[in-house]
Amino acid sequence: MIATIVHTDELLQTIAASVIAGIGVTFLFSLGIWGAGQFAELSRSERPVAATAAALVGAAALLCVAAAVVTGIVVMTHK
């Protein structure tokens, strides 16, 4: 009875999606900023290989953020 009223599955999916999207996107975006910061720092210290690697990590993280946002909107519009 209580399980029927509470919509447990939908509530748990909401919690899981919120945690994954809210924390995951912030983590990835922070990684993007870290990549940009490291790139600037390492370029100044003339370490081009490490700087490029940091830039690639940052760019990949920002691409994942963009993909997550687009996926979220697509999921919303296709129910």
Partner: protein
């Protein structure tokens, strides 16, 4: 003829409610972006209005919940919906007048439930939908936003902690354009759908639509327009007070709060949970504050929100029920709703005039 007059009054009242919802909620949607310097007030407000409008078109799950899962559409009449709307608007105005942070969404659902109970008894309420889709998510969502924002800000400080502050602030300010946009989109989709649901319920009650019908396009478009115009109009009031009454956060906190709020509202909207977007956004802001320093949280605001949780549903329900009883004094025709509308308009004009003389506070009242 008489029921068509009531229907026109209901649609007009619902759209007015939607406008005030956007008007009230502008501060919640744009305050973080403005206070961190991520966007100029005029840009943030214009962007939020546009995304409120777009957001209203991306889902109808919440509208379906409001129209079909809260009260039994078979016993609902347009007058019941009208009385519920008056209950919600009256409670919003009372809380606005006294500066209490109330939820328009809870007021709307409370008002309709109260008028339905007054008209047809407790059998008119679908307890499963009310508890499972409204009350429990209403408690869970702000706490979830608080925890997600708190965890997110902790993680972001760890990741970027050793970077130069300049690049970090700039980065999160750019990020806030996206997170603020998502929050406005989320606000538009969840809040505008409540109005769509109420108008759809009135159309079903009037026999204009079938029991299982979805909101027609004109209902979606007019609800989207009303909330977007409300957001834009409310924004100019916010511009005047920017920098004096809005919470100060750093850009990382702003990004985390907006991201958490948007994630919770969008995920809930997907499953048709009609939330108080105000409570969720405040939960996210408090979580981002607590993640940095526990004493940064305005626990007084949290207490007010808790009190509002307890009061809004029963108070709006009581006003909705009384309004329905009053309209029935004049029979089942349009006279009762017309008289109530005229009285409500007079009271609103008087309240605005008095508040304008005293100076209106900027509060967290809204959706």
């Amino acid at each position: 003829m008489s029921s068509d007059v009531i229907l026109v009054i209901v649609v007009g009242t619902a759209l007015a409610f939607d406008f005030t919802n956007g008007f009230h909620d502008t501060a919640n949607v744009v305050a973080t972006s403005i206070s961190t310097g991520a966007a100029r007030p005029s840009v943030a407000i214009g962007f939020a209005s546009l995304l409120n409008f777009v957001g209203a078109f991306i889902s109808i799950s919440v509208a379906a919940t409001v129209a079909k899962d809260v009260v039994d559409a078979d016993v609902i009449t347009p007058t019941i919906v009208f009385a519920g709307l008056i209950g919600a608007i009256a409670w919003n105005l009372i809380t606005w007048y006294f500066g209490l942070p109330s939820s328009s969404s809870h007021a709307l659902i409370g008002g309709v439930v109260g008028s339905a109970v007054a008209a047809a008894g407790f059998e008119a309420v679908l307890a499963e939908g009310l508890v499972g889709k409204v009350l429990i998510p209403a408690v869970v969502a702000p706490i979830l936003a608080f925890l997600v924002a708190g965890a997110a800000i902790g993680i972001s400080y760890r990741v970027v902690g050793r970077q130069r502050p300049g690049i970090v602030s700039r980065g999160y300010r750019y990020g806030q354009i996206v997170s603020g946009g998502l929050l406005a989109l989320a606000h538009g989709t969840n809040d505008a759908q409540k109005t769509m649901g109420i108008i759809t319920l009135a159309l079903i009650a009037n026999g204009t639509l079938g029991a299982e019908a979805d909101p027609p396009f004109w209902v979606i478009a007019s609800s989207a327009t009303a909330i977007a115009l409300g957001t834009y109009s409310g924004g100019w009031r916010i511009i005047k007070t920017t920098g004096t009454r809005i919470i100060k956060m750093d850009p990382a906190q702003g990004f985390s709060a907006q991201g958490a709020g948007a994630a919770v509202i969008l995920a809930s909207t997907h499953f048709g949970f009609p939330l108080s977007t105000t409570h969720v956004i405040n939960g996210g802001v408090m979580g981002a504050g607590a993640g940095k320093r526990l004493s940064a949280v305005r626990w007084g605001v949290a207490g007010n929100i808790f009190v509002a949780w307890l009061l809004t549903l029963p108070a709006a329900a009581a006003i909705g029920g009384l309004t329905y009883g009053f309209t029935r004094i004049f029979g089942t025709g349009a006279l009762g709703p017309v008289l109530v509308t005229l009285m409500a308009l007079s009271l609103v004009a008087a309240a605005f005039a008095r508040r304008a003389q005293r100076g209106a506070p900027v509060t967290a009242a809204g959706g």
